[in-house]
């Protein structure tokens, strides 16, 4: 539904080629490990050998030759031993005498001239722990929650309450309960984590890192490093994938590297190899979610009660906010007047879980979209027809009482996806456990429908006030142009390209006049972290407005200096005024740089005053805007081996104004593929030794080019008009719905509902042959 653009030169809405692609296809782009660095030390993290216990000693072996080797322990932390995160409970390094809470918790950092020397030396640090009994898995925590709720250790709890749940169940003709589970998921960015910390003469630090949020370390490490924000400078290196995995964790790495760097006075680099990266960086939170829904004979939902428990790991870090986003998506997509959702973050003795594309929402939607299908089946209704009846649409109120505006394409997404996939006909052909005539394989089609909140929760963006700048500059090639200065990071999603499009259109400049340098906190204002499906919607608006501001300044300057006061307009890369010959932008920009030292446009984001949000009661407008998706999966299952193939995936999506349909399509295809992995193959748990049981690419299996289905992706545009150009979020949403769509398709194929992902052939076998999951 991309509309014809009036202005032929307009770039918004076109599939402009990526500005960073040339360097990436030629291999010339230098990621952190490609940079030639001299005179640096390589750091290795020394870790707790047990999941839980009292740390008795961290001692270098006196017999070992420590010449040239720097060892940093908690004793070397200049300030308070705490990383801020969200509750200030996690130490930077575990301290002797205190409790270590997960296998692999850092206790020391060793740095030496070569990685081999550092690794060898690290093996000569004696780490002594008096073990305590650990609670390792979410399953154990949930068992406690079910048996003795008062003994359940929740690091953070939050409820959402709407209406009167007792009344809702009293009004119901029928009630259905269901529990749904999912394990860890690894981001598996192809470029492992890495940072280099350069200590500066004035005692400050400068860090290069493959990281999403350059301002996080600036504000999270002040207490342990005893450095104010202005003494921590962070610069993004080209990022080889992140998906949330490089959101909060790189702050820890910078903290680890800073200790030997400050102690030795030399730069320290820490990069993980794949095995260490998988074992000791945060994953998607495992979830246990229980729904109890009441409904009338006609299907109307009268009550939704939900318990949503995430495995937070050993420390809260950012899991509270992950849980918040989770519970806000637990019952978002359906009309219901009486809702109770109880969210909790379980403490376990395992590596803290963290950000991963979707941020709690995929776990919630895995539960609700499985459950709604189960309700439909219980009612004897077809899943698509039932969702068309009960789904939320403009004018309806969400579980937090937000009234959906007309800028929500929920109904259109559902309707068009069903049409495009020919769902009704295919649904009738689903095998339902028996091969139909002419079928060689069990066939099923499944649906999921969902909304995804764009940007920070509630009035978070109003409180944060993202800042950005667009400024005149002289490029390395000597030409004048415009630099975009925001802290949004390019991690593959295409922000450098789409912000170039936005700035170019707002300025009416050709894209070659615009650059977007990698974010460096010395040069960019804080436009917030590159997370939460907020970047295009919020920071894109900041860039748009800042560029408009700069445009006015350029026009005013041109009027005065080139057109004798006549009003000038910047249009198609030149300044035009009535009755005068146009002047190229470059000439005016050059003059501005020379005569007034340049110019810069800036903007600070705010939300409309009408936004109301109560962070205590979780009532009000939970997100400024919502993207929507109806997601359909078709599966074929071999009746002998239960091998599962996802053959075709349809997605109709409202992400507001589509800035670049090619990059947006790439986000969707990539997100759907991660969701495919989550659904059917990416299996990871915590072993008895406290370590993840799939710790390398030979055991943690992600989709290859042979596993991906045919995609039919279609955008419908319901722009977020408050923030031109009117985008809503796209980054996370494609991760949300495919797992339940596939589970629903598997149920249609086999007649059995699987309540745990990944859905492996073994799990299907168990379900079909009456294993523990075999509830119809």
């Amino acid at each position: 539904m991309t509309k014809a653009r009036k202005n032929a030169r307009q770039l918004i809405g076109t599939g402009m080629h990526r500005v960073d692609a040339a360097g990436k296809v030629s291999g010339e782009t230098r990621y952190l490990n490609d940079m030639p660095l001299k005179g640096i030390l390589h750091g290795v993290v020394v870790r707790s050998p047990v999941p839980r216990g009292i740390l008795k000693a961290v001692e270098p072996d006196p017999a070992y030759n420590w010449t040239g080797i720097t060892v940093a322990t908690a004793k070397d932390i200049p300030g308070e031993n705490v990383v801020h995160m969200h509750d200030r409970t996690m130490p930077l390094l575990a301290e002797v005498g205190a409790e270590v809470r997960y296998r692999g918790e850092p206790v020391a950092v060793v740095a030496a001239k070569t990685l081999a020397q550092a690794s060898a030396a690290a093996a000569h640090i004696r780490v002594e722990v008096d073990p305590l009994p650990p609670l390792l898995t979410l399953a154990e925590a949930v068992a406690v929650f079910k048996a003795t709720p008062d003994k359940f250790d929740s690091m953070k709890s939050q409820d959402i309450v709407k209406g009167d749940i007792a009344k809702g169940f009293a009004e119901a003709d029928d009630i259905l309960e269901g529990e749904y589970e999912a394990g860890h998921q690894e981001q598996l960015y192809l470029e492992n984590q890495g940072v280099v910390v350069y200590p500066q003469k004035d005692g400050s630090i400068f860090a290069d890192g493959s990281l999403q949020c350059p301002y996080f370390p600036v504000h999270e490490l002040n207490d342990p490093l005893q450095l104010p924000p202005e003494k921590i400078r962070v610069r993004q290196t080209p990022i080889g994938g992140a998906f949330g995995g490089k959101e909060e964790y790189p702050t820890m790495l910078i903290g680890y590297a800073a200790l030997p760097a400050l102690k030795s006075g030399k730069p320290v680099k820490i990069t993980y190899e794949r095995n260490e990266d998988i074992l000791f960086t945060p994953k998607r939170h495992p979830v246990w979610v229980r729904y109890k829904t009441g409904f009338k004979k006609d299907g109307t939902l009268t009550a939704i009660e939900c318990d949503y428990i995430l495995d937070g790991g050993a420390y809260l870090t950012i899991s509270d906010v992950v849980m918040f986003r989770g519970i806000l998506h637990c019952a978002l997509a359906y009309r219901c007047d009486n809702v109770v959702i109880r969210g909790k973050v379980a403490r376990t003795h395992s590596m803290p879980c963290g950000a991963f594309r979707g941020f709690g929402a995929p776990q919630a939607i895995w539960g609700i979209e499985s459950h709604i299908d189960a309700v439909a089946a219980h009612l004897g209704r077809a899943p698509h027809e039932y969702r068309q009846q009960i789904h939320i649409r403009p004018g309806d109120s969400t579980p937090t009482g937000q009234i959906l505006s007309a800028e929500n394409g929920s109904t259109t997404c559902l309707k068009q996806a069903l049409q495009r996939a020919d769902f009704a006909r295919k649904w009738r052909q689903s095998s339902q456990g028996k091969l139909r005539k002419g079928q060689q394989k069990l066939y099923g089609v499944g649906l999921a429908f969902l909304g995804h909140g764009s940007a920070f929760t509630g009035d978070g963006e109003a409180k944060f006030k993202a800042k950005g700048r667009v400024e005149l500059a002289t490029f390395a090639n000597g030409k004048p142009g415009v630099n975009i200065r925001v802290s949004s990071t390019e991690m593959g999603q295409g922000v450098h390209t789409i912000f170039t499009q936005i700035a170019a259109d707002a300025l009416s400049l050709a894209p070659e006049h615009i650059r977007f340098p990698l974010a460096d906190t010395a040069f960019v204002p804080n436009s917030g972290p590159t997370v939460a499906s907020r970047t295009t919607m919020v920071v894109g608006n900041v860039v748009y407005r800042a560029a408009q501001d700069l445009k006015q300044q350029i026009e005013a300057f041109a009027a005065q200096h080139f057109f004798r006061g006549a009003a000038a307009t910047l249009k198609d890369s030149q300044l035009v005024a009535k009755g005068a010959r146009p002047v190229p932008f470059a000439k005016v920009a050059q003059a501005m740089l020379k005569e007034i030292g340049g110019a810069s446009g800036s903007f600070q984001f705010n939300l409309p005053d009408s936004i109301r949000w109560d962070q205590t009661t979780f009532k009000g407008d939970s997100y400024p805007g919502y993207s929507w998706m109806a997601n359909i999966a078709e599966v074929e299952i071999d009746p002998l081996t239960y091998e599962l193939a996802v053959t075709r995936v349809t997605a109709v999506i409202d992400i507001g104004r589509v800035i670049n349909p090619v990059t947006a399509g790439g986000q969707v295809e990539g997100g759907l593929t991660q969701a495919l992995g989550y659904a059917v193959m990416e299996k990871m748990g915590t072993g008895k030794n406290g370590l993840y049981d799939a710790a390398r690419l030979q055991t943690y299996i992600i989709p290859t080019a042979l596993d991906t289905p045919e995609f039919d992706i279609h955008f419908v545009e319901y722009p977020y008009t408050f923030a031109p150009p009117g985008a809503k979020g796209v980054g996370e949403l494609p991760m949300d719905g495919l797992a339940p769509a596939i589970a629903n398709a598997v149920a249609a194929a086999t007649g059995r509902r699987l309540r745990q992902i990944p859905i492996t052939p073994e799990a299907i076998y168990e379900a079909v042959h009456g294993g523990r999951e075999g509830t119809p």
Binding site: G27, E28, N33, E191, G494, G671, A705, T708
Partner: protein, 161 residues
């Protein structure tokens, strides 16, 4: 481990390296020769980010000890492919199809695509999927990469006609 001396034809030029026999080709390329286009991701031959052509065969350079590569071996890395006409056609197709996101897998992907189109100028979708199955990408879902290989095949076919 004892050092070996080897003379290879690397990206069309004669290169002599001296290194422990067990040193990985990837390390020789990246650290000794400064050819950082080949990436390391898994270090155990699963991901394909370090794929190079060894005597025209795509191989993961993280699993090849240099002692195993005799004198005269022809090695082509992404840096060499970028200088070949067919390589540039493939790279341009990747750019135009939006097949690049974070870019970390892309050098290996381009090398595997080049190898495929050298031996099979008109690959089917299935053949493309097969040829790229050893190169993991976490960003794109492969759809636009497959599209790019098809576009490159079409353009290369026109050139040779």
């Amino acid at each position: 481990m004892s050092n070996v001396t080897r003379t290879w034809k690397l990206n069309g030029k004669s290169v002599t390296v001296r290194a422990p026999a067990g040193r990985r080709l990837l390390d020789v390329l990246r650290d000794d020769l400064g050819l950082t286009g080949s990436k390391e991701s898994c270090g155990e031959g699963e991901c394909g980010a370090c794929t190079v052509l060894v005597d025209d065969e795509p191989m993961v350079s993280c699993l090849i000890p240099v002692g195993q590569l005799p004198n005269g071996t022809e090695i082509l890395t992404i840096e060499g492919i970028a200088r070949k006409a067919a390589g540039r056609v493939i790279q341009q197709a990747y750019i135009e199809c939006g097949a690049v996101q974070c870019g970390f897998c892309i050098p290996g992907m381009v090398v595997s695509s080049y190898a495929l189109l050298q031996r099979n100028p008109k690959p089917s979708t299935r053949a493309i999927r097969d040829a790229l199955a050893g190169n993991l990408c976490r960003c794109t879902g492969y759809a636009k990469i497959i599209q790019a290989v098809k576009l490159a095949a079409t353009r290369l076919a026109k050139r040779t006609r």
